[in-house]
Symmetry: C2
Subunit: 183 residues, 2 copies
DNA sequence: TAGCTTTGTGCGTTATAACGCACAAGGGGC
DNA sequence: GCCCCTTGTGCGTTATAACGCACAAAGCTA
């Protein structure tokens, strides 16, 4: 399962530059906000230095955000909480995307025989299904399994997968974990 | 909500020492496994040095675990996934505790009028409720709210809270997030 | 265009991370 | 008790993190 987003060498550099750009501030303004020198911030962004954890903490505090936002490889930026359900599938939002938890939950309704194909979501996304009523099929990993009321399954959703409502249709909870877990 | 577990100055030291003790290895063995010198590991454990992120990464890789296990303040060690439901309350495990996600899910059944008091769970624990059938009351934050089928609520569960089944009883999903989100 | 301000980079200096090694203390075996 | 090994700490050395400052280039305004 692809949840463990390994930190690659440029993760911190990319994150810092992206966050600074999102804030629309220069290195100087960032230095003012964080108490870390402009020269050091530039070094970090250019990967010319391996900062201490204390320096990274200063940056995250100065920007008013969690430290993990600097450290964790971001597999979704605008696409966090952006799973869409194209077509006529019926979707109710149970819990909207929560940036701190990195989780969102929907209630989905499939009519009898209705088939819904989902393309691979962003890397690392894990998905839970809990069947509220009726029955359905889940197609993933080249396997096909049937789920009835009360049954639950968790799978890696950064691969294509599909649902099909059985004869009585199905209503299920669909939770997405966006890789905000351990890394 | 208490999910943001701020990193305190001794978090890394405590985590490193705890993990090493859990493995039952000396500083020398740890140095062999991680490629970080014995002297440096000792300095980190005694908080005499602020390690670079590269060094911490080496340690986490050497121990074969996520970097976040070193950085994140652990609000539960043996108590992760350890929420218990004392009394006659009926509980089914839907998803057991997952250390990478830091999440577990139960299906709980309350008979009509049944009252269940829960003491504060570990610091930072967040809880979701989704009512599958029937109706219930939730008592938390000195407020009391009624939830009927299909309704959901999220709240900080590191404080005392209580459930009561209404006249038709209640069945609900109960998800615990153990603070493995952003930090 | 000229002048001023902003921006990011490079450089030299200082403080400290990270290391290898030595050693005192503790533990285990004979 | 003696000897050997293990363990954690301290120390001196080297490499590098982090800084302040200077400066070239870019951007903006009159």
């Amino acid at each position: 399962m692809g949840l463990l987003s390994a930190m690659r060498e440029d993760t911190i550099a990319q994150n810092l530059r992206r966050i600074r750009n999102e804030k629309g501030i220069s290195l100087s303004r960032a230095a003012d906000q964080t108490g870390v020198s402009k020269a050091m911030l530039g070094q970090i962004e250019r990967q010319e230095s391996s900062p201490t954890i204390a320096t990274l903490w200063k940056i995250s505090q100065g920007f008013g955000m969690p430290l993990s936002f600097l450290l964790q490889e971001v597999t979704c930026t605008e696409s966090c909480g952006a799973v869409r359900f194209p077509g006529s599938i019926s979707v109710r939002i149970v819990f909207p995307y929560d940036a701190m938890l990195g989780v969102e939950t929907f209630e989905i309704t499939l009519s009898p025989g209705q088939f819904h194909q989902s393309e691979a979501h962003v890397a690392g996304l894990v998905e839970d299904i809990f069947v509220l009523s009726g029955g359905m099929e889940l197609h993933v990993d080249e396997t096909e399994r049937q789920l009835s009321q009360g049954q639950a399954v968790r799978f890696a959703a950064d691969q294509p997968h599909a649902y099909r409502g059985l004869d009585e249709g199905a209503v299920f909870l669909n939770t997405h974990y966006y890789g905000r877990g351990a890394f």
